[in-house]
Each structure stands twice: as structure tokens, then as C-alpha cells.
């Protein structure tokens, strides 16, 4: 685990769910993590994961904003948490639940490889690889919450 170079803190961003804002958020979060965690590899890996979660947060969003919160704790063994929240339709929420269930089953690498093989023959423009990539490359604890009114929060803790 990396060391904190400053005391623990967090950032929270909310944006209208448009694809073009994801890169801007990613760059901001990369900078935040770079100054908060004294481990370049970990910072970049979490920034990648945050970007993939933001892509989900835009794809599976209704017209309301998408919110990302990244927090770094001020402990001797600092923890990084990422939460992305957005409103979705019932169908989007159901689809995401099923994808999450598939991603979280089995060995992370084997699941990722199998989903990659399936994605490679898809013709619908979708990959559905983002969550599997996060699970394998970050080794983070991941969780999905869907509220009664279909507000989705996907999180990871490292």
C-alpha cells in the first residue's frame, strides 16, 4: 500500500452524464491521487478504475447527474475508496446487476478472459469488460447497491 503524503481527504465531482466529461474527471482524479498517495502505480491504477466506473456511470444513467467520490484515509495503511452514483431506469439497473453478478463470479483473471473472448465476438458495440478489468487489475473489494428508486452506486475499496 502507498503512504499518504498529506492527511487523508476526498474529492467529490458531479457532472451531467456526458461522455466528453469523463476524460476531464480522469485527469483531475489522477492529480488528486498523485498528491494524496505516495505510490504512482497505485494512483494510476485507481484512476483507471475510476474512469471505467465513470463510463458505466454515464452509460447506465438517466438524465440526472453522475457523482464520483474518491476518498483516501489518513491511516498508517491508507485505504482508497471510489464511489460512483447515478440514477438509472429499472431496465438499466437490472442489466447492471446481471453484469456485476457475472463479473464477481469465479477467478478474477479467468472471468476477465472469458468475458474478453465473449466481447470480441459481440457486434452491438458493447464490451461489458470495464468491471471485470477493474476487479482483475485493482484486486479491490467491489460492491453494487441499487436503491428502490434505481439509484445505482458502484464502489471499490483498496
Amino acid at each position: 500500500m502507498g503512504k499518504l503524503t498529506a492527511s487523508g481527504g476526498y474529492v467529490e465531482l458531479k457532472f451531467g452524464p456526458q461522455w466528453k466529461y469523463i476524460a476531464i474527471c480522469r485527469a483531475f482524479l489522477q492529480n488528486f491521487l498523485a498528491v494524496s498517495v505516495d505510490d504512482a502505480k497505485k494512483s494510476d491504477t485507481i484512476a483507471m478504475a475510476a474512469s471505467e466506473l465513470l463510463e458505466n456511470g454515464v452509460k447506465y444513467a438517466s438524465n440526472d447527474g453522475t457523482v464520483i467520490r474518491v476518498a483516501v484515509t489518513a491511516e498508517e495503511d491508507p485505504k482508497i475508496s471510489v464511489r460512483v452514483t447515478n440514477s438509472a431506469t429499472a431496465q438499466q439497473a437490472a442489466e447492471l446487476k446481471e453484469i456485476f453478478r457475472k463479473v464477481m463470479s469465479g477467478d478474477p483473471l479467468q472471468t476477465y478472459m472469458e468475458l474478453m473472448r465473449q466481447a470480441a465476438v459481440r457486434e452491438d458495440g458493447k464490451s461489458q469488460l470495464g468491471l471485470a478489468r477493474i476487479r482483475y487489475e485493482t484486486n479491490a473489494r467491489m460492491h453494487l447497491e441499487v436503491s428502490d428508486d434505481n439509484e445505482i452506486t458502484i464502489g471499490l475499496d483498496v
Binding site: A23, D44, E55, R117, Y136, E137
Partner: protein, 125 residues
């Protein structure tokens, strides 16, 4: 005469240059692949690279990712599609992924792609 007849492309924040190399060709990815659907750009382009490599019986094609800052999972899907073509290609060429160790995602993401067709792809600095 050019090793392969594939034109370089530039769209959004990604530029892909095709250059001749010893016994083959180099495909250089420069910028970011983070579009919502990169397959529209990458799939036909990489399919052309693949078919040209087979037709011209190239020994090696190098994919240079050293200047690629970001590759989203949708882009990984397109690279995976290319790699999987190697398993059934009538002419087998070596596919080398060139990576920058200082760009953290490259070591893990690119290495994972080599598992799709064991022995067909290497990851090098």
C-alpha cells in the same frame, strides 16, 4: 514499396500511424483511446492491418503503445478481437506489443491480452 497498404488515421484524441519496419510493420498508437465506441474506428483498421500482414506474409507486426496514455475497456475489446484473429490466420505472424513501463495500466492490460492466444503475442519494452 510499403510493407502494408494501410493509411494512418487520426480521430478525436487518437492518432494511429503505420510504418514499415524490418520484416514487417509498426502500428503506433498515440494519444488516448477513450471514446464511447472505439470499435467503429479500431475494428476496420485492425482488420485491414491483419489482412495485409497475411497477404504480404509479414514476419512481425509491432503494436507500439508507448505513447498511448489511456485505453478503455472498449478499446481493449478491439485489441482482443485482433489478437484472436491470430489463432485462425492462414499465415502466422508475430505480434509484439511495445509498452512503456512508466504507464501503469500498460503492463497489466497488455499482458492479459497475450493470454488469449498463447505464444502468439509478446509484450516488450
Amino acid at each position: 514499396m510499403a510493407a502494408i497498404n494501410v493509411e494512418s488515421i487520426k480521430q478525436d484524441r487518437i492518432e494511429i500511424r503505420v510504418e514499415d519496419a524490418t520484416k514487417g510493420a509498426v502500428v503506433r498508437f498515440i494519444g488516448d483511446i477513450d471514446m464511447e465506441d472505439p470499435s467503429k474506428l479500431l475494428d476496420p483498421f485492425l482488420a485491414k492491418v491483419h489482412s495485409e500482414a497475411i497477404e504480404k506474409k509479414l514476419e512481425v507486426v509491432s503494436a507500439d503503445f508507448t505513447k498511448l496514455n489511456f485505453l478503455n475497456s472498449s478499446g481493449i475489446k478491439s485489441i482482443a478481437k485482433w489478437v484472436m484473429k491470430l489463432s485462425t490466420a492462414e499465415h502466422k505472424y508475430k505480434l509484439r506489443f511495445l509498452h512503456d513501463p512508466s504507464i501503469s495500466w500498460q503492463a497489466t492490460s497488455l499482458q492479459t491480452l497475450t493470454f488469449l492466444v498463447p505464444g502468439a503475442v509478446t509484450v516488450e519494452k
